[in-house]
Protein backbone atom coordinates (compact mmCIF):
# COMPACT_ATOMS: atom_id res chain seq x y z
CA UNK A 1 0.00 0.00 0.00
CA UNK A 2 2.78 2.40 0.83
CA UNK A 3 4.62 1.81 -2.44
CA UNK A 4 2.60 4.43 -4.29
CA UNK A 5 4.05 5.90 -7.52
CA UNK A 6 7.21 3.85 -7.15
CA UNK A 7 8.37 5.53 -3.88
CA UNK A 8 9.04 3.27 -0.97
CA UNK A 9 7.42 5.30 1.82
CA UNK A 10 8.28 2.68 4.43
CA UNK A 11 11.96 3.40 3.96
CA UNK A 12 11.36 7.15 4.15
CA UNK A 13 9.18 7.15 7.24
CA UNK A 14 11.76 5.83 9.61
CA UNK A 15 11.78 6.80 13.24
CA UNK A 16 14.69 9.19 12.68
CA UNK A 17 12.96 10.97 9.79
CA UNK A 18 9.75 11.47 11.73
CA UNK A 19 11.72 12.92 14.67
CA UNK A 20 13.54 15.30 12.33
CA UNK A 21 10.27 16.45 10.76
CA UNK A 22 8.78 17.07 14.20
CA UNK A 23 11.87 19.06 15.21
CA UNK A 24 11.74 21.14 12.04
CA UNK A 25 8.03 21.81 12.55
CA UNK A 26 8.70 22.78 16.17
CA UNK A 27 11.49 25.14 15.11
CA UNK A 28 9.25 26.82 12.55
CA UNK A 29 6.04 26.93 14.58
CA UNK A 30 7.55 27.80 17.97
CA UNK A 31 10.94 29.26 17.08
CA UNK A 32 9.94 32.17 14.83
CA UNK A 33 7.01 33.44 16.95
CA UNK A 34 9.18 33.12 20.06
CA UNK A 35 11.95 35.03 18.33
CA UNK A 36 9.54 37.80 17.31
CA UNK A 37 8.21 37.96 20.87
CA UNK A 38 11.67 38.08 22.48
CA UNK A 39 12.92 40.76 20.07
CA UNK A 40 9.79 42.89 20.66
CA UNK A 41 10.01 42.58 24.45
CA UNK A 42 13.72 43.38 24.50
CA UNK A 43 13.18 46.30 22.10
CA UNK A 44 10.48 47.70 24.37
CA UNK A 45 12.69 47.35 27.45
CA UNK A 46 15.57 49.12 25.68
CA UNK A 47 13.25 51.90 24.49
CA UNK A 48 12.35 52.75 28.08
CA UNK A 49 15.98 53.41 29.00
CA UNK A 50 17.53 54.41 25.68
CA UNK A 51 16.51 56.04 22.40
CA UNK A 52 14.03 54.63 19.84
CA UNK A 53 16.95 54.10 17.45
CA UNK A 54 18.80 51.90 19.97
CA UNK A 55 15.60 49.95 20.54
CA UNK A 56 15.13 49.40 16.83
CA UNK A 57 18.75 48.29 16.48
CA UNK A 58 18.52 45.77 19.33
CA UNK A 59 15.16 44.47 18.09
CA UNK A 60 16.37 43.90 14.54
CA UNK A 61 19.72 42.54 15.73
CA UNK A 62 18.04 39.88 17.88
CA UNK A 63 15.55 39.01 15.16
CA UNK A 64 18.07 38.61 12.31
CA UNK A 65 20.65 36.74 14.42
CA UNK A 66 17.94 34.44 15.75
CA UNK A 67 16.56 33.89 12.26
CA UNK A 68 19.97 32.84 10.93
CA UNK A 69 20.43 30.41 13.86
CA UNK A 70 16.96 28.96 13.31
CA UNK A 71 17.63 28.52 9.60
CA UNK A 72 20.94 26.78 10.27
CA UNK A 73 19.21 24.48 12.79
CA UNK A 74 16.47 23.63 10.28
CA UNK A 75 19.02 22.85 7.58
CA UNK A 76 20.95 20.67 10.06
CA UNK A 77 17.75 18.76 10.86
CA UNK A 78 17.16 18.28 7.14
CA UNK A 79 20.49 16.51 6.89
CA UNK A 80 22.65 19.20 5.33
CA UNK A 81 26.28 19.10 6.37
CA UNK A 82 27.06 22.39 8.12
CA UNK A 83 30.76 22.40 7.25
CA UNK A 84 29.97 22.31 3.53
CA UNK A 85 27.17 24.82 4.07
CA UNK A 86 29.41 27.23 5.95
CA UNK A 87 32.06 26.87 3.25
CA UNK A 88 29.50 27.67 0.59
CA UNK A 89 28.17 30.51 2.73
CA UNK A 90 31.71 31.92 2.99
CA UNK A 91 32.14 31.95 -0.77
CA UNK A 92 28.64 33.37 -1.22
CA UNK A 93 29.40 35.93 1.49
CA UNK A 94 32.42 37.24 -0.42
CA UNK A 95 30.37 37.48 -3.61
CA UNK A 96 27.47 39.19 -1.83
CA UNK A 97 29.90 41.44 0.02
CA UNK A 98 31.34 42.74 -3.23
CA UNK A 99 27.87 43.20 -4.66
CA UNK A 100 26.50 44.99 -1.61
CA UNK A 101 29.32 47.34 -0.67
CA UNK A 102 26.99 50.34 -0.61
CA UNK A 103 24.50 48.63 1.63
CA UNK A 104 27.19 47.53 4.07
CA UNK A 105 28.63 51.05 4.05
CA UNK A 106 25.17 52.41 4.82
CA UNK A 107 24.70 49.92 7.65
CA UNK A 108 28.04 50.83 9.22
CA UNK A 109 27.26 54.54 8.75
CA UNK A 110 23.90 53.91 10.38
CA UNK A 111 25.62 52.39 13.40
CA UNK A 112 27.82 55.48 13.68
CA UNK A 113 24.79 57.77 13.40
CA UNK A 114 22.99 55.85 16.12
CA UNK A 115 25.96 55.87 18.48
CA UNK A 116 27.01 59.48 17.76
CA UNK A 117 23.43 60.84 17.95
CA UNK A 118 23.85 64.01 15.86
CA UNK A 119 20.03 64.10 15.68
CA UNK A 120 17.03 62.17 16.95
CA UNK A 121 13.55 61.46 15.64
CA UNK A 122 11.58 64.72 15.55
CA UNK A 123 14.58 67.04 15.05
CA UNK A 124 14.59 69.46 12.13
CA UNK A 125 17.74 69.03 10.07
CA UNK A 126 19.25 70.53 6.95
CA UNK A 127 21.21 68.29 4.61
CA UNK A 128 22.43 70.12 1.52
CA UNK A 129 19.39 71.90 0.13
CA UNK A 130 16.96 69.61 1.94
CA UNK A 131 15.33 70.69 5.16
CA UNK A 132 12.84 68.59 7.10
CA UNK A 133 11.82 66.70 10.22
CA UNK A 134 13.43 63.34 10.99
CA UNK A 135 10.82 60.58 10.75
CA UNK A 136 13.08 57.59 11.40
CA UNK A 137 16.73 56.60 11.61
CA UNK A 138 17.13 53.15 10.13
CA UNK A 139 20.11 50.95 9.41
CA UNK A 140 20.33 51.92 5.76
CA UNK A 141 18.83 55.38 5.59
CA UNK A 142 17.27 58.33 7.39
CA UNK A 143 13.75 59.35 6.43
CA UNK A 144 12.72 63.00 6.41
CA UNK A 145 9.43 64.80 5.98
CA UNK A 146 9.90 68.19 4.37
CA UNK A 147 7.76 71.21 5.25
CA UNK A 148 5.82 70.85 2.01
CA UNK A 149 5.02 67.28 3.08
CA UNK A 150 7.39 65.34 0.86
CA UNK A 151 9.02 62.10 1.93
CA UNK A 152 12.79 62.04 1.48
CA UNK A 153 15.11 59.09 2.05
CA UNK A 154 18.76 59.95 2.61
CA UNK A 155 21.31 57.08 2.67
CA UNK A 156 23.27 56.97 5.90
CA UNK A 157 26.57 57.06 4.04
CA UNK A 158 25.85 60.50 2.61
CA UNK A 159 24.90 61.78 6.07
CA UNK A 160 28.26 60.65 7.41
CA UNK A 161 30.15 62.19 4.48
CA UNK A 162 28.31 65.52 4.25
CA UNK A 163 27.56 68.38 6.61
CA UNK A 164 24.31 67.99 8.52
CA UNK A 165 22.82 70.95 10.39
CA UNK A 166 20.57 70.12 13.31
CA UNK A 167 18.37 73.21 13.53
CA UNK A 168 16.45 72.25 16.66
CA UNK A 169 19.20 70.68 18.76
CA UNK A 170 19.27 73.53 21.27
CA UNK A 171 16.22 75.04 22.95
CA UNK A 172 16.74 78.61 21.73
CA UNK A 173 17.59 80.05 18.33
CA UNK A 174 18.75 83.35 16.94
CA UNK A 175 16.71 84.99 14.23
CA UNK A 176 18.87 87.12 11.93
CA UNK A 177 17.17 89.84 9.89
CA UNK A 178 19.07 91.97 7.41
CA UNK A 179 17.72 95.51 7.41
CA UNK A 180 18.65 98.26 4.96
CA UNK A 181 17.84 101.96 5.44
CA UNK A 182 18.46 105.01 3.27
CA UNK A 183 21.76 106.85 3.58
CA UNK A 184 20.02 109.96 4.93
CA UNK A 185 18.75 108.12 8.02
CA UNK A 186 20.17 108.53 11.51
CA UNK A 187 22.02 105.35 12.47
CA UNK A 188 21.37 105.87 16.19
CA UNK A 189 17.64 106.28 15.63
CA UNK A 190 17.48 103.13 13.50
CA UNK A 191 19.23 101.17 16.23
CA UNK A 192 16.90 102.61 18.88
CA UNK A 193 13.76 101.76 16.89
CA UNK A 194 14.90 98.20 16.20
CA UNK A 195 15.71 97.55 19.86
CA UNK A 196 12.36 99.02 20.86
CA UNK A 197 10.57 96.64 18.46
CA UNK A 198 12.40 93.73 20.11
CA UNK A 199 11.60 94.90 23.65
CA UNK A 200 7.88 95.16 22.88
CA UNK A 201 7.59 91.71 21.34
CA UNK A 202 6.92 89.09 24.07
CA UNK A 203 8.18 86.20 21.95
CA UNK A 204 11.55 87.88 21.61
CA UNK A 205 13.82 86.88 24.50
CA UNK A 206 15.11 89.73 26.67
CA UNK A 207 18.21 87.63 27.30
CA UNK A 208 20.28 86.73 25.33
CA UNK A 209 19.96 90.37 24.38
CA UNK A 210 18.84 91.50 20.93
CA UNK A 211 21.66 92.74 18.75
CA UNK A 212 21.79 95.53 16.17
CA UNK A 213 25.00 95.60 14.19
CA UNK A 214 25.91 98.16 11.51
CA UNK A 215 27.26 95.87 8.84
CA UNK A 216 28.11 97.78 5.73
CA UNK A 217 27.76 100.81 3.46
CA UNK A 218 25.77 99.03 0.76
CA UNK A 219 25.12 100.04 -2.85
CA UNK A 220 21.77 101.54 -2.03
CA UNK A 221 21.43 101.32 1.73
CA UNK A 222 23.08 101.34 5.11
CA UNK A 223 23.02 97.67 5.99
CA UNK A 224 22.24 96.40 9.50
CA UNK A 225 22.03 92.97 11.10
CA UNK A 226 19.13 92.75 13.53
CA UNK A 227 19.45 89.57 15.58
CA UNK A 228 16.90 88.48 18.18
CA UNK A 229 16.61 85.27 20.19
CA UNK A 230 13.55 83.10 20.71
CA UNK A 231 12.66 79.57 21.75
CA UNK A 232 12.87 77.25 18.78
CA UNK A 233 9.11 76.67 18.63
CA UNK A 234 8.47 80.41 18.12
CA UNK A 235 11.01 80.90 15.32
CA UNK A 236 8.70 81.08 12.32
CA UNK A 237 6.02 83.02 14.17
CA UNK A 238 8.56 85.57 15.42
CA UNK A 239 10.12 85.87 11.97
CA UNK A 240 6.81 86.89 10.44
CA UNK A 241 5.93 89.23 13.30
CA UNK A 242 9.28 90.99 13.34
CA UNK A 243 9.33 91.60 9.59
CA UNK A 244 5.86 93.11 9.75
CA UNK A 245 6.67 95.22 12.80
CA UNK A 246 9.89 96.55 11.24
CA UNK A 247 7.99 97.70 8.15
CA UNK A 248 5.19 99.28 10.19
CA UNK A 249 7.52 101.04 12.65
CA UNK A 250 9.83 102.31 9.91
CA UNK A 251 6.80 103.72 8.08
CA UNK A 252 5.58 105.36 11.31
CA UNK A 253 9.01 106.81 12.09
CA UNK A 254 9.57 107.92 8.46
CA UNK A 255 12.63 105.73 8.12
CA UNK A 256 13.07 104.92 4.46
CA UNK A 257 13.70 101.36 3.36
CA UNK A 258 15.40 101.97 0.01
CA UNK A 259 15.33 99.90 -3.11
CA UNK A 260 18.26 99.75 -5.57
CA UNK A 261 18.47 102.96 -7.62
CA UNK A 262 21.07 104.88 -9.64
CA UNK A 263 21.89 108.60 -9.75
CA UNK A 264 23.03 110.10 -13.07
CA UNK A 265 25.63 112.86 -13.11
CA UNK A 266 27.03 114.81 -16.04
CA UNK A 267 30.54 114.81 -14.71
CA UNK A 268 30.11 117.26 -11.85
CA UNK A 269 27.65 117.08 -8.97
CA UNK A 270 27.49 120.88 -8.78
CA UNK A 271 26.11 121.41 -12.23
CA UNK A 272 22.51 120.64 -13.01
CA UNK A 273 21.72 117.84 -15.36
CA UNK A 274 21.01 119.37 -18.78
CA UNK A 275 17.50 118.80 -20.00
CA UNK A 276 16.45 119.36 -23.57
CA UNK A 277 12.73 119.72 -24.16
CA UNK A 278 11.92 117.89 -27.34
CA UNK A 279 8.20 118.42 -27.24
CA UNK A 280 8.27 121.85 -29.00
CA UNK A 281 10.59 120.64 -31.73
CA UNK A 282 8.29 117.72 -32.28
CA UNK A 283 5.28 120.07 -32.48
CA UNK A 284 7.14 122.36 -34.91
CA UNK A 285 7.93 119.41 -37.13
CA UNK A 286 4.33 118.35 -37.18
CA UNK A 287 3.18 121.86 -38.08
CA UNK A 288 5.76 122.61 -40.80
CA UNK A 289 4.26 120.67 -43.71
Amino acid sequence: MLAITGINWTNLLTKGTITAVIRIAALVVIGFPLLTFVSAITGRAVKKRFTPQASMLVRKGIFYTGSVLLLVSILYQMGFKLTALLGAAGIAGIAIGFASQTSVSNIISGLFLISEKPFTVGDIVKVGDTKGTILSIDLLSVKLRTFDNQFIRIPNESLIKNQVTNITRFPIRRLDINVGVAYKENVGKVREVLLDIASKEPLCLDEPEPLVRFLNFGDSALEFLFAVWCVKEDYLKLNTKMMQQIKERFDAENIEIPFPHQSLYTGSVTKPFPIRIVKEQHEDKTKSP
Binding site: L205, E207, E209, V231
Partner: protein, 263 residues
Protein backbone atom coordinates in the same frame (compact mmCIF):
# COMPACT_ATOMS: atom_id res chain seq x y z
CA UNK B 1 -11.37 92.28 47.12
CA UNK B 2 -14.85 91.58 45.78
CA UNK B 3 -13.57 90.72 42.34
CA UNK B 4 -12.26 87.37 43.67
CA UNK B 5 -15.64 86.35 45.12
CA UNK B 6 -18.18 84.15 43.34
CA UNK B 7 -20.57 86.05 41.12
CA UNK B 8 -23.85 85.17 39.47
CA UNK B 9 -23.99 85.00 35.69
CA UNK B 10 -27.10 86.53 34.13
CA UNK B 11 -28.18 84.37 31.24
CA UNK B 12 -28.39 85.82 27.71
CA UNK B 13 -26.83 89.08 28.91
CA UNK B 14 -23.41 90.46 28.14
CA UNK B 15 -21.31 91.03 31.28
CA UNK B 16 -18.02 92.77 31.85
CA UNK B 17 -15.45 92.69 34.65
CA UNK B 18 -12.02 94.24 35.06
CA UNK B 19 -8.80 93.53 36.92
CA UNK B 20 -6.29 96.27 36.14
CA UNK B 21 -5.45 96.23 32.44
CA UNK B 22 -7.40 93.00 31.89
CA UNK B 23 -11.05 93.37 30.91
CA UNK B 24 -13.11 90.18 30.72
CA UNK B 25 -16.33 89.83 28.74
CA UNK B 26 -18.74 86.98 29.13
CA UNK B 27 -22.12 85.92 27.84
CA UNK B 28 -24.05 82.77 28.65
CA UNK B 29 -26.53 81.38 26.17
CA UNK B 30 -28.10 78.01 27.05
CA UNK B 31 -25.37 75.57 28.01
CA UNK B 32 -22.66 77.65 26.36
CA UNK B 33 -20.48 80.35 27.89
CA UNK B 34 -18.64 82.81 25.69
CA UNK B 35 -15.57 84.59 27.07
CA UNK B 36 -13.45 87.32 25.53
CA UNK B 37 -10.38 89.15 26.76
CA UNK B 38 -9.65 92.79 26.16
CA UNK B 39 -6.45 94.56 27.18
CA UNK B 40 -6.76 98.17 28.34
CA UNK B 41 -3.98 100.55 27.41
CA UNK B 42 -5.39 103.68 29.02
CA UNK B 43 -3.02 104.39 31.92
CA UNK B 44 -5.74 105.76 34.22
CA UNK B 45 -8.15 102.87 33.74
CA UNK B 46 -5.58 100.15 34.40
CA UNK B 47 -5.70 100.84 38.14
CA UNK B 48 -9.40 99.97 38.37
CA UNK B 49 -11.08 96.77 39.45
CA UNK B 50 -14.69 95.98 38.59
CA UNK B 51 -16.85 93.01 39.45
CA UNK B 52 -18.91 91.54 36.61
CA UNK B 53 -21.79 93.81 35.70
CA UNK B 54 -24.35 93.85 32.94
CA UNK B 55 -23.55 95.77 29.78
CA UNK B 56 -26.35 97.24 27.74
CA UNK B 57 -26.47 96.56 24.04
CA UNK B 58 -24.78 93.85 22.06
CA UNK B 59 -21.35 92.47 22.82
CA UNK B 60 -18.43 93.91 20.83
CA UNK B 61 -17.78 91.82 17.74
CA UNK B 62 -14.16 92.81 17.27
CA UNK B 63 -13.05 90.80 20.31
CA UNK B 64 -11.67 87.30 20.00
CA UNK B 65 -14.44 85.25 21.65
CA UNK B 66 -13.93 81.73 22.94
CA UNK B 67 -16.83 79.30 23.52
CA UNK B 68 -17.17 76.70 26.29
CA UNK B 69 -19.95 74.16 26.78
CA UNK B 70 -20.51 74.38 30.55
CA UNK B 71 -24.01 72.94 31.02
CA UNK B 72 -27.10 74.71 32.25
CA UNK B 73 -26.23 74.71 35.96
CA UNK B 74 -22.97 76.64 35.66
CA UNK B 75 -24.40 80.04 36.48
CA UNK B 76 -21.76 80.99 39.06
CA UNK B 77 -18.42 82.39 37.96
CA UNK B 78 -15.33 82.82 40.09
CA UNK B 79 -12.00 84.41 39.27
CA UNK B 80 -8.94 82.98 40.97
CA UNK B 81 -5.60 84.83 41.02
CA UNK B 82 -2.62 82.69 40.12
CA UNK B 83 1.10 83.12 39.73
CA UNK B 84 2.54 82.96 36.18
CA UNK B 85 2.95 79.50 34.70
CA UNK B 86 6.71 79.82 34.32
CA UNK B 87 9.50 81.10 36.60
CA UNK B 88 10.25 84.81 36.67
CA UNK B 89 13.66 86.29 36.10
CA UNK B 90 13.68 89.47 38.15
CA UNK B 91 16.10 92.11 36.93
CA UNK B 92 16.44 95.11 39.26
CA UNK B 93 16.48 98.37 37.32
CA UNK B 94 19.53 99.35 39.34
CA UNK B 95 21.70 96.33 40.23
CA UNK B 96 22.38 95.95 43.92
CA UNK B 97 25.43 94.62 45.69
CA UNK B 98 25.24 92.55 48.87
CA UNK B 99 28.47 92.21 50.89
CA UNK B 100 29.43 88.88 52.34
CA UNK B 101 27.36 87.70 55.33
CA UNK B 102 24.70 90.33 54.68
CA UNK B 103 21.12 89.94 53.56
CA UNK B 104 18.64 92.12 51.70
CA UNK B 105 14.86 92.03 51.55
CA UNK B 106 13.15 92.99 48.28
CA UNK B 107 9.48 93.46 47.54
CA UNK B 108 9.02 92.23 44.01
CA UNK B 109 5.72 93.09 42.39
CA UNK B 110 4.63 90.97 39.43
CA UNK B 111 1.43 90.66 37.36
CA UNK B 112 -0.94 87.82 38.23
CA UNK B 113 -2.71 85.35 35.99
CA UNK B 114 -6.45 84.90 36.28
CA UNK B 115 -8.19 81.53 36.21
CA UNK B 116 -11.87 81.54 35.25
CA UNK B 117 -13.89 78.91 37.07
CA UNK B 118 -17.62 78.21 36.75
CA UNK B 119 -20.05 76.04 38.72
CA UNK B 120 -21.25 75.76 42.32
CA UNK B 121 -20.31 72.49 43.94
CA UNK B 122 -18.48 70.95 41.00
CA UNK B 123 -16.21 73.68 39.70
CA UNK B 124 -14.97 73.69 36.15
CA UNK B 125 -11.66 75.35 35.22
CA UNK B 126 -12.26 77.07 31.91
CA UNK B 127 -9.44 79.37 31.08
CA UNK B 128 -6.28 81.03 32.36
CA UNK B 129 -5.13 84.40 31.15
CA UNK B 130 -2.23 86.69 32.15
CA UNK B 131 -3.20 90.16 33.30
CA UNK B 132 -0.09 91.44 31.53
CA UNK B 133 1.76 89.51 28.84
CA UNK B 134 5.37 89.40 30.02
CA UNK B 135 8.29 89.07 27.68
CA UNK B 136 10.21 85.80 27.47
CA UNK B 137 13.74 85.42 28.79
CA UNK B 138 16.23 82.57 28.87
CA UNK B 139 17.81 81.86 32.25
CA UNK B 140 21.06 79.95 32.21
CA UNK B 141 23.11 78.32 29.53
CA UNK B 142 21.78 78.61 25.93
CA UNK B 143 22.04 74.83 25.62
CA UNK B 144 20.41 73.77 28.86
CA UNK B 145 18.79 76.74 30.61
CA UNK B 146 15.09 77.30 31.13
CA UNK B 147 12.47 79.55 29.62
CA UNK B 148 11.17 82.16 32.05
CA UNK B 149 9.26 85.41 32.02
CA UNK B 150 11.25 88.61 32.19
CA UNK B 151 10.43 91.13 34.90
CA UNK B 152 12.22 94.43 35.07
CA UNK B 153 11.64 95.42 38.67
CA UNK B 154 12.38 98.31 40.93
CA UNK B 155 12.89 95.62 43.60
CA UNK B 156 11.76 97.98 46.32
CA UNK B 157 13.30 97.69 49.76
CA UNK B 158 10.46 99.19 51.79
CA UNK B 159 6.89 98.03 52.16
CA UNK B 160 5.40 101.53 51.94
CA UNK B 161 6.89 102.05 48.52
CA UNK B 162 5.64 98.79 47.12
CA UNK B 163 3.27 99.16 44.19
CA UNK B 164 -0.27 97.94 44.67
CA UNK B 165 -2.20 97.96 41.40
CA UNK B 166 -5.02 95.39 41.55
CA UNK B 167 -3.46 93.06 38.97
CA UNK B 168 -0.12 92.74 40.73
CA UNK B 169 1.01 90.64 43.66
CA UNK B 170 3.89 91.42 45.99
CA UNK B 171 6.46 88.75 46.68
CA UNK B 172 8.95 89.29 49.53
CA UNK B 173 12.35 87.94 48.49
CA UNK B 174 15.14 87.79 51.04
CA UNK B 175 18.62 87.19 49.62
CA UNK B 176 21.45 86.25 51.95
CA UNK B 177 25.04 86.25 50.78
CA UNK B 178 26.85 83.44 52.59
CA UNK B 179 29.71 83.32 50.15
CA UNK B 180 33.15 84.80 50.66
CA UNK B 181 32.69 87.39 47.90
CA UNK B 182 30.40 90.34 47.36
CA UNK B 183 27.23 89.39 45.47
CA UNK B 184 26.16 91.47 42.48
CA UNK B 185 22.40 91.04 42.18
CA UNK B 186 21.83 91.65 38.48
CA UNK B 187 19.07 89.11 38.12
CA UNK B 188 17.55 86.28 40.09
CA UNK B 189 15.15 83.55 39.14
CA UNK B 190 12.02 83.03 41.20
CA UNK B 191 9.97 79.88 40.76
CA UNK B 192 6.65 81.60 41.32
CA UNK B 193 4.71 78.45 40.51
CA UNK B 194 5.41 77.31 44.09
CA UNK B 195 3.85 80.42 45.63
CA UNK B 196 0.39 80.91 47.13
CA UNK B 197 -1.49 84.18 46.82
CA UNK B 198 -2.91 85.82 49.95
CA UNK B 199 -5.50 88.56 50.15
CA UNK B 200 -4.09 91.49 52.12
CA UNK B 201 -5.86 94.64 53.24
CA UNK B 202 -5.33 96.40 49.94
CA UNK B 203 -2.65 94.31 48.25
CA UNK B 204 -2.15 90.75 47.10
CA UNK B 205 0.77 88.93 48.71
CA UNK B 206 2.69 85.72 48.18
CA UNK B 207 4.60 83.74 50.76
CA UNK B 208 8.20 84.79 51.33
CA UNK B 209 11.17 83.38 49.43
CA UNK B 210 14.54 83.04 51.10
CA UNK B 211 17.55 82.60 48.84
CA UNK B 212 20.95 81.81 50.32
CA UNK B 213 23.84 82.43 47.95
CA UNK B 214 26.82 80.25 48.81
CA UNK B 215 29.14 81.07 45.93
CA UNK B 216 29.31 80.92 42.15
CA UNK B 217 30.16 77.23 42.07
CA UNK B 218 27.90 76.20 44.94
CA UNK B 219 24.18 75.74 44.42
CA UNK B 220 22.02 78.42 46.00
CA UNK B 221 19.50 77.26 48.58
CA UNK B 222 15.96 78.44 48.01
CA UNK B 223 13.33 78.19 50.72
CA UNK B 224 9.67 78.94 50.14
CA UNK B 225 7.98 79.90 53.39
CA UNK B 226 4.74 78.05 53.97
CA UNK B 227 3.32 80.66 56.33
CA UNK B 228 1.62 83.89 55.19
CA UNK B 229 3.75 87.04 54.88
CA UNK B 230 3.98 89.12 58.02
CA UNK B 231 4.40 92.56 56.51
CA UNK B 232 0.68 93.25 56.48
CA UNK B 233 -2.33 91.47 57.99
CA UNK B 234 -3.56 89.00 55.39
CA UNK B 235 -6.89 87.20 55.36
CA UNK B 236 -6.59 83.88 53.62
CA UNK B 237 -5.21 82.08 50.58
CA UNK B 238 -7.16 83.08 47.50
CA UNK B 239 -4.86 81.44 44.98
CA UNK B 240 -3.22 78.08 45.62
CA UNK B 241 0.29 77.33 44.35
CA UNK B 242 0.39 75.81 40.87
CA UNK B 243 2.99 73.31 42.09
CA UNK B 244 2.84 72.93 45.88
CA UNK B 245 6.24 72.49 47.43
CA UNK B 246 7.14 71.01 50.78
CA UNK B 247 10.92 70.64 50.82
CA UNK B 248 13.43 73.47 50.27
CA UNK B 249 14.71 73.72 46.75
CA UNK B 250 18.33 73.50 45.85
CA UNK B 251 18.63 75.49 42.70
CA UNK B 252 20.92 77.95 41.03
CA UNK B 253 18.71 80.99 41.40
CA UNK B 254 21.16 83.80 41.24
CA UNK B 255 23.03 84.66 38.16
CA UNK B 256 25.64 87.29 37.66
CA UNK B 257 26.93 85.98 34.38
CA UNK B 258 26.36 87.85 31.16
CA UNK B 259 24.37 86.05 28.52
CA UNK B 260 25.70 86.62 25.06
CA UNK B 261 24.10 87.72 21.85
CA UNK B 262 26.90 86.68 19.57
CA UNK B 263 27.37 88.14 16.15
Amino acid sequence: MDVWKSQKIVSDQCMQGQIGPLRLWLKQAGDELRIAVERIEDTESILETKVFELIKGTEPEDLDWGRWVVGTNADIIKLIPLTPDRPLVVRPEVPLKIPTNHEALFFVSFPIWVRIVVGKSKQLNLYEVPSVVLSNIWFGDPMSGELCYSLLSRARRKINNAESPPHRVICPVRIRNSSTKQLDVERFCVHVEHLKIYDGSDKLWTNEINITFKGEIEVSQVHYAQSPPTFEPVQNVIGEARIPLKKPLLKKSLSDFKLFSGS
